[in-house]
């Protein structure tokens, strides 16, 4: 239960408990990580780090999320992090993580990075996509990029378990890849002409105030953004190609939806075999995800609402087939801050620390 083990956040972790540092604690990624680890029986937060909030009492920043003993937020000091923690979850702006990560790894701290810094196997590819960050940073950690594990637990579980550095996937890639990969792997769809039309709540824009994310601006509106060339396009393609075994080109369009949380990805692909039915395709997904408790494949004709997975680490998938047009329609709903970010990070942490991947993660939503 939520309140059953308040001691795990106090730093008095038992011998069997892994110690976790959360860096970037007051942003949404950090907040979610803290909330999810609250009550986790095997992972204890032992270091709260943040730049802007260093030196402040936790309750003065986040009165809505009381932590035991109301700790102070500390500066981001690799030495002290290594003293206090076995693992670190980094929830920092793109670019900053690549500066801190090597220092932590050198000191034996295993890292789950929620940023995009280590999601590409090739540093060059990262530099092409994150142009501005690349110009400011002059990274020379191509080896780290190559060794980092892309943290999609349902596909890279064993590698994550043994990794020193895990790059948690982006929210859009998570939602889009989960339904798509089984079909790519089995060669059931054409690998060109794939359309990913995605919709996200505004918390994906982070906690730093931006005009476009004000309630007054974002409410009562839906709009596309980053049309053609959004950074997550290449991230989705990289993983899709790895699984498909050859080039995949897709069209990715995100939309901003007037809600706090939730991400829905609607994916369109052409079936190679026009005889496949929605039931067949649902079976494909069920077979792949049968033993993965964070994935739920819905029956044909039931379509997921993001509310059904809100505050959970679940992805709900559904398939439909249009026999008239030969199109496969995949639908995938996640909570962008949980399965799309911090929850997936904790899922990776669980694997790294030797727990079942879903340990301590909520899988059942409150409704409505």
């Amino acid at each position: 239960m939520d309140s059953s083990n308040p001691s795990v956040l106090t730093g008095m972790a038992s011998s069997r408990t892994a110690r976790v540092a959360v860096i970037g604690a007051s942003g949404y990624g950090g907040l979610q990580t803290l909330r999810l680890l609250h009550g986790h029986h095997g992972l204890a937060v032992t270091y709260l780090g943040g730049e802007r909030s260093a030196g402040q009492r936790w309750s003065s920043i986040c009165p809505f999320l009381p932590l035991p003993d109301d700790p102070f937020v500390q500066t981001v000091d690799p030495e002290r992090i290594a003293d206090a923690a076995d693992f670190a979850v980094l929830s920092l702006p793109n670019g900053l993580s690549s500066q801190l990560t090597p220092q932590l790894l050198q000191r034996g701290v295993r890292v789950v990075d929620l940023s995009a810094d280590f999601r590409y196997r090739s540093l060059d590819r990262w530099s092409q996509v994150y142009v501005q960050e690349a110009q400011n940073l002059k990274r020379q950690d191509a080896d780290l990029c190559r060794d980092a594990v892309y943290g999609l637990p349902e596909w890279h579980g064993p590698a994550i378990a043994g990794a020193a550095l895990v790059a948690a996937p982006g929210c859009f890639p998570t939602a889009s890849l989960l339904p798509l990969l089984p079909f790519l792997k089995q060669g059931l769809i054409e690998t060109d002409g794939i359309i990913v039309d995605a919709k996200t709540g505004t918390s994906g824009g982070g906690r730093v105030p931006k005009q476009s994310m004000l309630l007054a601006e974002a409410s009562e509106a839906i709009a596309p953004y980053g049309v053609v060339g959004h950074r997550h396009t290449s991230e989705i393609e990289q993983m899709a190609e790895e699984v498909a075994g050859h080039t995949v080109q897709l069209q990715f369009t995100p939309h901003l939806v007037p809600m706090v949380r939730g991400l829905l990805s609607t994916v369109y692909a052409r079936l190679r075999d026009p005889g496949l039915t929605a039931e067949d395709c649902t079976t494909v997904l069920q077979a792949v995800y049968r033993h993965h408790p964070c994935i739920e494949v819905l029956p044909v004709g039931t379509y997921p609402a993001t509310k059904w997975v809100r505050h959970t680490n679940k992805a709900m998938l559904s398939v439909q087939v249009d026999t008239r047009t030969g199109q496969l329609v995949l639908m995938s709903a996640i909570d962008n801050l949980v399965k799309g970010q911090a929850g997936q990070g904790v899922q990776c942490l669980n694997l790294m620390a030797g727990f079942d991947p879903e340990t301590g993660l909520p899988l059942q939503a409150f409704y409505p």
Copy 2:
């Protein structure tokens, strides 16, 4: 101005004013029509008809929309409608309109129907799509279906002006066809594999209470519905084929968005000529819609938010091209209750009554 001519709703219409009956007054379609005609200098509402609300004072039903002299809602009596009005706007459930329309036409009342009853040129086609309604009704008005004009003013203006019966298009078809038709007409895109991913506010579900449209259910959620085979698919295809000159097959998926009004259609199609740029394609749209004040083509890189057209009769269109994939991405935002329903109905009425199509229609949104 809104308040400048209160007399036009009182029934004391001047000789130059056309008289309009609004039937189905207390649903969203009727309400919007009344609101839009309020202050119109050339169209006066002279008959308020409704079944459920007949006999009631208007103010007791809709205290938020005061009408001059606070009229009673009347029963739907063709004879009395014909005495009172030159035109009728029908905002009735699918099927009911086909019962009333012939009686009005016989009495010389010209009709704008907001339902789907006369949107198909072929009664057979309608019966295939609206199966349940067809079973209940046994319609035998194939001739009316054939003669009715599909009320998309930017494409059928002259026909609408001369029509006795206009079928106002559905909200999704309106938003989807406006950006798509110019490319189909000029043969610039492939006519198969078109994807229409559409998003609508909940007012599209009407004013009759449904569980799924409760704020508690629909808020903080986005979800697909009617995946594969939604009725508007065939309506879009019919008009697309008429303009393209041959068969068009498209994939249409609507999504419910937690907002009251607004409809965004994101359309994906493959360009035939891979050399076309976003600027070229924007020019294509601008050339077609230059003299249509209800259509605004945005510059390349500016994407429409539904809020920008809320409460207006405008469609805002934007184009992007992915030269890497050869995909054309069309975006189109409307207010589903105005340009997507009642506003388009009034636009048709304007043409039928000899006014400029945009007469009396708001084209500038309030923001935020």
Copy 3:
């Protein structure tokens, strides 16, 4: 953890587990109760009852809340409920509960009723307030009304623990009484002229569709309703008078807020001693609620947002004093469906079954 004990919902309850019937399972009260009992280590749902949904698979009604073994909803049969359960939570429309409750009590089932039927110690009082229900029902269970315990655990804990029948308080009374009672008990405020200005999300209106609760109607609006004479006025006064020891008259005005969950009560009262400060009054609350984990008293100057308690069984209280006017301002935020309804019901169940009151109840919100 949420997923740690899936067996408790399967009916295979262990010897130490109390068996619970949930009647009215598909409304919001029933849904919340099921969700809260999911994963409870000491209370197992062993009977799902409902009228409208009887005979249906649970997953066909609520695909978003998977239950182990996907049970059928059963009819409301007192005999079979008594066979299957030690406790029953009734989430039924006002009036219906008074018909079922005696039959359950006779069969030894202890009842937590979420309706208003047993909230008044006097049946006459109930009949005056719930006039319409009283006319339809001709209740003759004045003794049950007298013996039922008003289920506010922080004030009636021991009585609840021993009760056969507990009437869970209304959402507005819960939020309003929690901050008010300590001041009434200690005689610190005038007992006339108290103003309770309350604000609730729309889920308080229930799951049965109503026009006023449609997203299209309730969104982007705040409005008062039930001004003067709302039924919860008398419920608040009854409990206030019991604690104050004499007559209390207050003005209660609810408002509908465009959000799903959450209830904020802002209470105004005149201090008897003009020298009391906000710190003094905060101390008063802290002293009373120190050992009650479901109540959190915020420091002076921190005001509760309903989001801070969403999906939790917590009430967050805050006090401010205006030394210029002598007014005490009390603020109280709860989740109307949890601490304001089903969570409070489970809190009562916990006491009745011998557990700590907060057992299995979430006390930490997800934010944002």
Copy 4:
């Protein structure tokens, strides 16, 4: 109609058209003023001034509000403003207006100021309430404060018509004073113990990004703020005292509501004569506001929703009386950015320029 006179915004104002400068054009106050003046037949915007946005094309800042000829935003230069305009509407942060206003007045430009700088008759009072601004500015314009007219048109119409400088009231004072003043003027209520519990949408927080106004933070929540001592308390009291003829002390508590626009004020006061009914009190309001088209007094039992006045310059008032407690409950709904800000500014401009006060102002909402 909205689109009927596009020339009035082009600067080619006719001889009978008054010329208006809008300063602070890209904030919400400026945006609303521009939108409201769009289509006004007697007031033409001839100068767009802004600090941050100076030098930019209007369409690059606000693509959603196209202006004729797409003007450049200009610097705030008193000389050039005076050349171009007869009137200026200032929508600037508190404090800045007091620097610009004297320079405009000296050059013969009549000013409507939307800030709080000139709302107090006494500069000392202002300095006590706006402490921080006062420290930074060292204002010495006590005479201007004394001569400025408080721009509540229904109460100060003739003074506004003749004024050189009008201070448009705050949003909360507008909503609260309109229902309260008639009862204070006629001595029908006690002047102590008045409670004003107010609720506002987030656009009241302005367009400059703040964390607390992000959709992710403000959505799905209601919370009080500024409890005891909010600046609008003294502004309401000043005007209340002027009308009552003696001291008025009231308790004002604002709440943030998850919606864009709308402000509801619920006001509680004790009736002096316990025999007055809700009908009597409604008659009191109707008598006062009979000839004021921007005020609508609702029948007893109909309570205003803010949505009913959204995007309009209307205030909807309703009264209820609790004969049991002797309390008067006043409810008042406005659009905080229109009647609560820019619309009231235009109403004042109308009077100053010799038009009817409601000229060009929308009075009928779109619903839903």
